[in-house]
């Protein structure tokens, strides 16, 4: 929000603001797996569940899941093994990520306040199960601005198959000024990276020189107009915005042009693969964005919920978990592991907080060949940015049904992430409709146990 007549120090609401406290991370890359990633088949080792496979999950018959009655206990569809120096357990669903386990801290006791995709997505992103609240990325750029003048502060890379449940408001600015909303970067190399970056091709046949002269002319007129209206920072800010736009026209295509990346890097991200390539591209773009000073990047690994005949477009595996998690597991494993390796190799991991989460977990009791929604427990993990690798926080009960030790919500994850950025989640607030709003509502504890 630009000051009106308040003698604003800076016309650009995204100019960088120093972190209020010492920051361990200067950027965030969040990988979001919409649909509900099953913790019991991936990160959360439940030997007791495997043991009870085939026995009734709920002998009382009283429990009701979101869409079904609980079936029998169903152990992980993938065997678990110990990995790394830390010896943490992970399933074979993620062979490449398993090799990164010493960089990763797990929160096994995550819970959501809703078993429905829409509200749970909103909660994971904004701290509220209602639509219309600012997302974490919007809050972060509101608090810290951007280190890059030439790129948006908060960039979103949606799955090329479509938007996640709830749509674009998952990265909306809510009641914060629109400038803080996530900017969608088109991951299709054939398309301009940002909507409206250039005029449509069929318009007036302008050359870059013509565009530049048009802009200069426009700015001349704008400056004359402003000169007759002294002391109005809004007019100056809008003039500055056109300068920023011109820089964005140069820098955005440069970010998405991957030709400068080495073959080794392209192979690392598996860009040529039809299934894993698109997500690999999203991850590589995230690294390039962070390299160039973008504050917050959100990557979606999956699209909306649809009962598809073949593979579901996200992790919502009601009918056939092996089929759907099998597919998406390989996608996430390849891209996320490449991202961690690459950030590490470039010395960026220390200053970049990587978060991988989902909106809720899946039930340890079977739903046919799939699993139903489980808001009672799921796992999120963090890496880099001052996170103590090889650790875990919180536990679930012996079957993975409910969080047991240290139950945690998105509030705690968000509070921890903000803390790493040097921001106290209780102090980052914005007045709206009668309430001093926070990302963490009236909750949230920094999970110190997983910090270095």
């Amino acid at each position: 929000m630009l000051a009106r007549g308040a003698g604003a120090a800076s016309a650009n609401p995204l100019s960088p603001k120093p972190a209020p406290a010492p920051a361990r991370a200067r950027a965030v890359i969040q990988i979001f797996c919409p649909g509900g990633l099953s913790h019991v088949d991936s990160w959360d080792w439940k030997p007791e569940l495997a043991k009870r496979s085939g026995q009734p999950f709920d002998p009382t018959g009283k429990l009701q899941f979101f869409a079904s009655k609980p079936g029998n206990c169903q152990g992980s569809y993938w065997p678990f093994r110990q990995h790394g120096r830390c010896g943490r357990w992970m399933s074979d669903l993620f062979p490449r990520l398993a090799a990164c386990v010493d960089d990763v801290a797990f929160i096994h006791s995550m819970q959501s306040k809703s078993a429905l995709h829409g509200p749970a997505m909103f909660m994971a992103n904004s701290g509220f199960i209602l639509p219309g609240f600012p997302s974490m990325g919007a809050w972060v750029t509101y608090g810290l601005g951007s280190e890059s003048e030439n790129l948006p502060a908060f960039v979103v890379l949606p799955d090329p198959r479509g938007l996640p449940p709830g749509g674009v408001i998952n990265w909306g600015a809510g009641f914060l000024p629109a400038v803080h909303q996530g900017t969608t970067l088109n991951t299709d190399p054939e398309q301009p990276p940002i909507a409206d970056l250039f005029p449509p091709k069929n318009f007036a046949g302008l050359t870059p020189q013509g565009e530049a002269s048009g802009r200069n002319f426009l700015q001349t007129l704008n400056r004359q107009h402003a000169a007759a209206r002294v002391g109005n920072t809004e007019l100056d800010a809008r003039i500055a915005a056109y300068e920023l736009a011109a820089r964005l026209q140069l820098s955005a295509p440069e970010v998405t042009d991957l030709r400068g990346e080495t073959d080794a890097t392209q192979r690392l991200y598996d860009l040529a693969d039809e299934d894993t390539g698109p997500f690999g591209r999203q991850c590589l773009l995230a690294r390039r964005l962070v390299e160039r000073g973008v504050r917050f990047v959100q990557i979606y690994c999956g699209a909306e919920n649809t009962t598809a005949r073949k593979i579901r477009p996200n992790w919502d595996s009601h009918e056939d978990l092996v089929r759907d998690h099998g597919y998406w597991g390989r996608v996430l494993d390849t891209g996320a592991a490449a991202l961690l390796h690459d950030l590490n190799a470039r010395g960026l991991l220390d200053s970049t907080l990587v978060i991988c989460t989902t909106e809720f977990g899946r039930q340890p009791g079977a739903q046919g060949k799939g699993r139903d929604h489980n808001p009672g427990a799921f796992t999120a993990w963090l890496a880099g940015g001052g996170i103590r690798g090889g650790t875990a926080y919180g536990t679930t009960d012996e079957l993975g049904f409910q969080a047991a030790e240290h139950p945690a919500y998105s509030y705690d994850l968000h509070a921890t992430a903000l803390h790493q950025l040097g921001v106290d989640h209780e102090r980052l607030s914005f007045y709206h409709n009668g309430v001093q709003r926070r990302l963490t509502d009236v909750h949230g504890h920094v999970i110190k146990e997983i910090l270095t």
Partner: protein
């Protein structure tokens, strides 16, 4: 840095003093400015005759300025005034002709006092201060324009968070939301008294039964988002279903109280409000007001009794059908595998054989009863000796019927020479005694025993079942004479009724020689007969009787439904008659759900039950409803509506005048329009606020009068530009001592009140997203002024069946259907329109009392490159070309159209040169991107 963050808060336009109240003291106290009764304050007397006092508004404003030794700014130039008024009242720019006419009128009536003299001559000053007739006429003209309602309805829709989709996961469209939007536009245009406007939206069906507005206004209750999955897929018995319904009511409560009373009752969901006197119990009493309602399509008629009966009948129909389906399912289960296999064979045999032509045949009107007689007849033109008659059945996949669609269960074939078939009737076939098994598409041939006749009639005496109704359909009627030629080919067809839905269904299709490929095997007949027999065997007498009774009841219901005209539909807060997980309260008689205080807002911890009531925070207006036992749900809403619209509810009147003030000045007298509680801002001019509230209330709650009062004030008509002030004062009184004093006052104003809270000048305002879009279309000559009706869509929907993808980039910005005013745009919640969102358009997921006004690089890119902007640049250029003249003349007109002024010589020369080099369309694009286009002085 913490200070940094706090600073950005202040920048966001918040009165930091109000927020500083971190520790609530006596939170429950009703001793708070906004809750105090309204008393009309005395208008301050002004000793200084030089001050521009056009009406009491100015007296209040000038009194505050005087406290700080500040002075108001001079009146803005007429060009500035007319552009400001147009955008403020209509959301559109004036045409060049309107501008010039107004400027001319002003100079006639104003001269010689404009530019204003700061002088000694009191008489001159008084003239300047009164409203000129030209300005008053302009205000009246704009307030009478239908575009006024469109502009101000949009503000209202922000506040009530209206949208055209549900939001949340799967974000389904709400195709019947728009009647509420049209109601709001109508109410503003008709200057609906504000008390009635409130009453209609909360309880119009009860307080104004039998009116269209009384029903359509209820769209208010349903305006916000709705969790489709949480309601339609999860029943109220499950925790997630409970949460969804609790939150749904919370939205209704919050929307009502924030909109009409500017208080945030939602804070009392988990505990007593920390800052304002709203105990948790009061919050749940408001829940009880809406406890019978859901958000759903409401079918309605002007007559409320009809509306209710119609809803009951539709519910009966659903219930009976569900019972019948259950019985049939039971039978099918009893018939077991054999039936399953038969059904598969029948389905295979029913498939259309050969290519299916679109001309299906004749189709009677739909009948609610099966035992109705329907006939169709051909005129052979002359008496013919008939050898045989062939009936060719239809094929239609509707309701999975397929082959034999509409073929009557009992019928007869008759011939005669009397067109009425009253005398000399010969029977060719009589199948009225027993049910006929549906023949599929196999032709049915009936030999005649030498009948000679000109007319041939098929009468169905028992119709074919379709869904919950019955029909008679036939693809082709052939009449062969003794030579074997079809004499019915192209014969004239008559029937008492026919649905006439070309090309598929029309009478002439009966003799057009087009019929589905015939399956003569008889296989289908045989299979269907087997199936009937199998089911008959599985049916015991009791079930048979039950089925017959159900069929009879269904017929009765359908017959009564058929007597109704087609109902109108609005998406509204309503007693819902549903099935499945989304039942609503209708089936149980519309009784409100039991509402209990939820400990910590947790649906798993319900405590005491509460009665419906309003909050108790007003000492002069109790929140108790005192409704009799056994009252209806509507009485609760009516009681709340009356409480909200009471003259003794000070919040209601303060809230509204503050909103109107805000839209005229860019900032309210209270800067937090949705919060008059302790977390909100304090009024900058409490006396003026109260004076306006009383004046508004006591003059019948007329918004148009309120607008007129405000926009004719000298305060509103001030210049916004410090430089303007300088120029005006220096022009009129160069070298005078007075001018020097004014100059110094001005300087002190900029220092003492840099944010202009005291209104020593008008605020310059950035056009909102709708005004930018509408003005662009208007200036380009492409704005379609059509009012009302379903929303236009500036996106293409892909994958509508599950989670619709709203693809804005696939929309053609040149599609004239989308060139209507932005208030008619289809508002998608999960995928807000990117161009509008970038321009700070309100997010329909939340109540927006005041929009943000941000400036960003992405906005610049959107205005430079968005398809709509470049398309309209081309149209603007084409319009200028069509106006003729040389490039200089075109550029001159372009300035007048876009900016309501002529260009300076230098501007004209520069833009002409630019247009010569890069084309006129690009020059138009530059104009659309100017700050001068985007801001109103």
């Amino acid at each position: 840095m913490l200070k940094r963050i706090a600073l950005s808060l202040t920048l966001a336009g918040i009165a930091s003093a109000a927020i500083a109240a971190e520790k609530p003291t006596k939170a429950s106290s009703t001793d708070w400015w906004s809750l105090k009764p309204l008393v009309r304050p005395a208008v301050p007397a002004t000793a200084n005759r030089r001050l521009p006092i056009a009406n009491p508004v100015d007296a209040f404003i000038c009194a505050k300025l005087a406290e700080k030794n500040l002075q108001p700014s001079p009146e803005a130039e007429p060009r500035v005034q007319i552009r400001r008024l147009y955008f403020d009242l209509l959301g559109l720019p004036p045409t060049p002709d309107e501008v010039e006419a107004f400027v001319r009128e002003c100079s006639l009536s104003h001269s010689p006092t404009f530019p204003p003299a700061p002088a000694r001559a009191g008489e001159q000053v008084r003239k300047r201060e009164s409203v000129t007739p030209a300005y008053a006429r302009l205000v009246d003209k704009l307030l009478a324009s239908p575009h006024y309602g469109e502009r101000w309805a949009r503000h209202w829709l922000d506040v009530v968070h209206y949208g055209d989709t549900h939001g949340y996961d799967k974000d389904k469209p709400r195709p019947n939301a728009w009647p509420y939007r049209d109601y709001v536009i109508r109410a503003f245009n008709e200057d609906r008294p504000y008390a009635r406007f409130i009453q209609e939206q909360v309880a119009g069906d009860i307080l104004f039964p039998g009116t269209r507005d009384g029903v359509e206004a209820l769209g208010f209750i349903a305006a916000g988002p709705w969790d489709f999955i949480g309601h339609a897929e999860v029943p109220e018995t499950k925790i997630d279903g409970k949460i969804a319904r609790h939150l749904d009511r919370d939205d209704m409560v919050a929307n009502t109280m924030q909109t009409f009373n500017s208080l945030t009752v939602g804070c009392a969901q988990c505990h007593d409000h920390k800052f304002d006197p709203i105990p948790q119990r009061d919050y749940y009493r408001l829940h009880a007001v809406f406890a019978a309602l859901d958000r759903a399509d409401k079918k309605y008629f002007a007559d409320a009794k009809l509306t209710q009966r119609f809803a009951e009948l539709e519910h009966q129909q659903r219930t009976l059908t569900a019972k019948r389906t259950a019985l049939e399912t039971k039978l099918k289960t009893a018939a077991g595998k054999e039936l399953e296999s038969l059904d598969q064979q029948i389905e295979a045999a029913s498939k259309a054989k050969g290519g299916l032509r679109p001309e299906y045949g004749y189709h009677s009107a739909i009948s609610p009863a099966q035992e109705a007689a329907k006939w169709v007849q051909v005129d052979l033109g002359r008496s013919v000796v008939i050898d045989r008659v062939v009936l060719r059945p239809c094929y239609d996949d509707f309701n999975k019927i397929g082959a034999g669609f509409g073929f009557p269960v009992r019928f007869k074939v008759e011939a005669g020479d009397d067109a009425q078939l009253k005398s000399g009737v010969m029977s060719i076939a009589d199948k009225t005694a027993a049910d006929v098994t549906n023949p599929g598409t196999a032709p049915q041939t009936f030999k005649s025993t030498g009948a000679t006749a000109r007319f041939l009639r098929i009468t169905a005496t028992k119709l074919a079942p379709r869904q919950n109704d019955f029909i008679f359909a036939l693809a082709e009627l052939q009449v062969f004479d003794t030579t074997g030629s079809n004499v019915a080919l192209k014969a004239a067809v008559t029937a008492p009724d026919s649905i006439e839905a070309a090309p598929r269904w029309r009478k002439t299709n009966l003799t057009d020689d087009i019929a589905p490929g015939a399956d003569n095997s008889g296989e289908l007949v045989e299979l269907r007969a087997k199936r009937d027999a199998l089911l008959a065997k599985a049916t015991d007498d009791k079930t048979r009787a039950e089925l017959a009774a159900l069929a009879k009841d269904l017929e009765q219901v359908a017959a009564e439904l058929k007597t109704f005209p087609k109902p109108d539909v609005v998406y509204a807060g309503t007693v819902h008659y549903g099935t499945g997980a989304f039942v609503g309260t209708g089936p149980a008689g519309g009784k409100p759900r039991v509402i209990q205080v939820l400990h910590r807002g947790d649906v798993k911890q319900p405590k005491d039950e509460v009665a419906a009531g309003a909050p108790g925070y007003l000492t002069g207006l109790p929140g108790e409803f005192a409704l009799p036992a056994g009252h209806s749900e509507g009485e609760r809403r009516a009681a709340l509506a009356k409480w909200l619209s009471s003259p003794d509810n000070p919040l209601t009147w303060r809230s509204l005048v503050n909103r109107v003030w805000q839209y005229h000045f860019g900032r309210g007298l209270v800067e937090t329009p949705n919060d008059f509680g302790r977390m909100g801002a304090l009024p900058t001019h409490p006396e003026l606020l109260d004076w306006l509230a009383v004046e508004f209330r006591d003059s019948g709650g007329s918004l148009k009068k309120l607008h007129k009062l405000i926009v004719t004030s000298a305060t509103y008509r001030q210049a916004s530009v410090a430089a303007d002030v300088r120029r005006l004062t220096s022009q009129s009184a160069i070298g005078s001592r007075q001018s020097a004093i004014e100059q110094s006052l001005l300087t002190s104003a900029a220092t003492l009140d840099s944010e202009n809270r005291l209104l020593w000048r008008q605020n310059r305002r950035k056009l909102d997203a709708e005004a930018v879009r509408d003005a662009t279309l208007f200036v380009a000559g492409k704005l379609d002024p059509k009012m009302g009706g379903p929303a236009f869509q500036d996106f293409i929907v892909e994958k509508p069946e599950h989670s619709p993808h709203y693809e804005y980039h696939l929309h053609d910005p040149d599609d004239p259907k989308s060139h209507r005013r932005s208030v008619y745009r289809f508002l998608v919640r999960s995928q807000t329109q990117p161009f509008m969102t970038t321009l700070d358009c309100a997010d329909p997921s939340m109540q927006v009392g005041k929009r943000n006004e941000s400036v960003s690089a992405l906005q610049a890119l959107a205005l430079l490159n968005n398809g709509l902007m470049v398309t309209m640049s081309k149209h603007f250029a084409a319009k200028l070309d069509a106006g003729g003249g040389d490039l200089n003349a075109k550029v001159d007109r372009a300035f007048r159209e876009a900016l309501a002024r002529a260009p300076s010589a230098e501007e004209k020369a520069n833009l002409t040169a630019y247009a010569r080099q890069h084309g006129l369309a690009n020059a138009c694009r530059v104009l659309f991107n100017l700050n001068e286009f985007a801001f109103v002085d």
